[in-house]
């Protein structure tokens, strides 16, 4: 459903991604792993339209995303849980969720989406009127995931959802990712927590210094010593 071919992304004159090609199939969790600064966030942000591709193509369900204005990507059925959560801190939990459903298509299903998000994260209905910036880290991550689900994505991009969370909360987050996938949502999962990521993924790509250096089934990669080497940035 998502096919990326020969993607190059630059920040100004500095190139951050070289010839990145990958694909995601319907209902699949695909992990992207790599060390700090490898270009993982750059990649998912490019798919979302937050960064622009200099070269290459990003095709989602037959639509060329690189031709779309950044704010139009979400309407195609893609949503992001950004690195560091990036909630709207001075808006309430509920307002953050509502904005997740900003695009017209998602807005029509607002009630169902909200019911689902509250079912996944009951805490969010208790906290609905609290300012997002005042939540705990774990709660903020739930809002970030909930906000993305409110957009009714068929593809969910998750950038380090377990970052900085206590182990029990990490368990909860990973369990929710599996439930989301069980509803038929495909997931691109960027993680530092390689083992956990490979556990719930079908396939994985290893990024190093802006290039894909390894790819394969999660089981294969988990058994491969080269993955560890690549992750250390060799």
């Amino acid at each position: 459903m998502l096919g990326v071919t020969d993607l190059d992304v630059f920040y100004g004159d500095a190139q951050a991604l070289w010839d990145v090609s990958m694909n995601v199939d319907e209902g699949e969790v695909v992990a992207i792993v790599g060390s700090n600064g490898a270009g993982k966030s750059t990649f998912v942000n490019a798919v979302m339209g937050i960064n622009r591709a200099r070269r290459g193509s990003i095709i989602f369900e037959g639509v060329e995303l690189t031709n779309l204005a950044g704010h139009r990507t979400c309407r195609q059925g893609i949503a992001i849980v950004p690195e560091g959560r990036r909630l709207f801190p001075f808006l309430s939990v509920q307002e953050n969720l509502d904005l997740g459903a900003f695009n017209r298509e998602a807005r029509r299903h607002h009630h169902e989406s909200l019911a689902w998000v509250h079912e996944l994260f009951p805490r969010l209905s208790e906290r609905r009127d609290q300012l997002a910036g005042t939540l705990s880290g774990g709660e903020q991550q739930m809002v970030a995931i909930g906000r993305a689900l409110m957009a009714r994505p068929r593809l969910l991009l998750m950038d380090e959802p377990s970052l900085g969370l206590a182990p029990v909360i990490v368990d909860e987050v990973f369990e929710r990712i599996e439930r989301v996938r069980a509803e038929g949502v495909s997931v691109v999962l960027v993680e530092q927590n390689v083992k956990r990521a490979l556990d719930i993924s079908a396939r994985a790509y290893v990024l190093a210094e802006g290039r894909i250096v390894q790819q394969g089934s999660a089981a294969e990669l988990a058994a491969s010593p080269e993955v560890v080497a690549a992750l250390l940035g060799v």
Binding site: M48, G49, I50, A69, G70, H71, R72, T73, C74, R75, A79, I80, P82, R86, F88, P89, F90, L91, S92, E95, D98, L99, G100, F102, N103, A106, D129, L131, R147, A151
Partner: protein, 290 residues
């Protein structure tokens, strides 16, 4: 003149500057451009009001029918130019200062540097005042306060109570992510800059209503209006209005009990103290503001 009268008259006068500050504060707070050209738009609004009221039978208030659309479009066009050249917050100060100088020069070339004032026959407001008990207030000032109040309530309600306003606040807090969820930054920028242009038209009209106008008036507004934007909290609509009233009241009291030339000293001491102790402005945003 007693303290109450001086303070009240000053506060009402301050509401005109609050109106000038409103547009500046909105575009600064939400679009992250410090648009000094806004003062040029207000000046243009004053002169257009003068010209239209003098040469057509419209009457000064009805000139808004023309000046609001004109300045709305001009404000939006200037914003598009900033976007086109990817002007950053800091460089916007410089670029828009250049634009301000150009706008003032244009006004200068069309209407000359002479004092202009609407004739009493077209502007009956300038000389009228309304008495409340012992207190008497000039009509233009009361009109400024009225317009200010209506606009602040209107804009504040849109920003804080509507879905579009919520999208705007989200955009002000994280543009990239707001865009990732479908909020169109170009649309928001154009609409907001257009609204700021419309407020410039209203402020310009109200300024012309008070009496004389000269091209240099634009530069004279800058200090006071910046003080109001900072004290009110950047992007805080209600705060801007309160700050305008406060700055006006303080200036009024200082002017009548000390000397007018000391008003800026007192006002800017307030700004410095506010920046030290309340960098977010004197009027903290309630939940969900901005």
């Amino acid at each position: 003149m007693n303290v109450l009268q001086a303070g009240l008259a000053g506060a009402l006068g301050g509401s005109l500057f609050a109106l000038m500050a409103l547009g500046l504060s909105l575009t600064w707070g939400f679009l992250k451009v410090i648009n000094l050209a806004h003062f040029g738009l207000i000046l243009l609004g004053s002169y257009l009001t003068f010209e239209l009221a003098t040469s057509t039978p419209l009457g000064p208030l009805n000139t808004l029918l023309v000046t609001i659309p004109v300045l709305c479009v001009l404000g939006a066009a200037i914003h598009l130019a900033y976007e086109r050249f990817e002007v950053s917050e800091l460089s916007s100060l410089l670029v828009s200062y250049g634009l301000l100088i150009i706008l003032v020069q244009v006004v200068h070339n069309i209407w000359s540097a002479d004092f202009r004032r609407m004739d009493a026959s077209v502007n009956p407001y300038a000389t009228r005042s309304i008495s409340l008990g012992d207190l008497s207030f000039p009509l233009p000032t009361l009109l400024a306060a009225g317009f200010g109040l209506v606009l602040v309530v209107l804009v504040g309600t849109i920003i804080n109570r509507t879905y579009a306003g919520r999208a705007l606040r989200a955009f002000g807090q994280d543009r990239e992510i707001a865009s990732a969820f479908g909020i169109d930054h170009r649309l928001i920028g154009v609409v907001l800059a257009g609204v700021a242009g419309a407020t410039a038209a209203i402020a310009g009209m109200l300024f012309a209503l008070r009496g004389t106008i000269t091209p240099d008036a634009a530069f004279e507004w800058v200090g006071l209006v910046f003080a109001i934007v900072i004290l009110g909290g950047i992007g805080n609509v209600a705060g801007t209005f309160y700050a305008g009233l406060l700055v006006g009241a303080v200036s009024g009291v200082v002017a009548s009990f000390w000397t007018p030339s000391h008003s800026p000293l007192v006002v800017f001491s307030m700004v410095v103290l506010a920046l030290v102790f309340r960098p977010e402005g004197l009027f903290p945003r309630r939940a969900g503001r901005h």
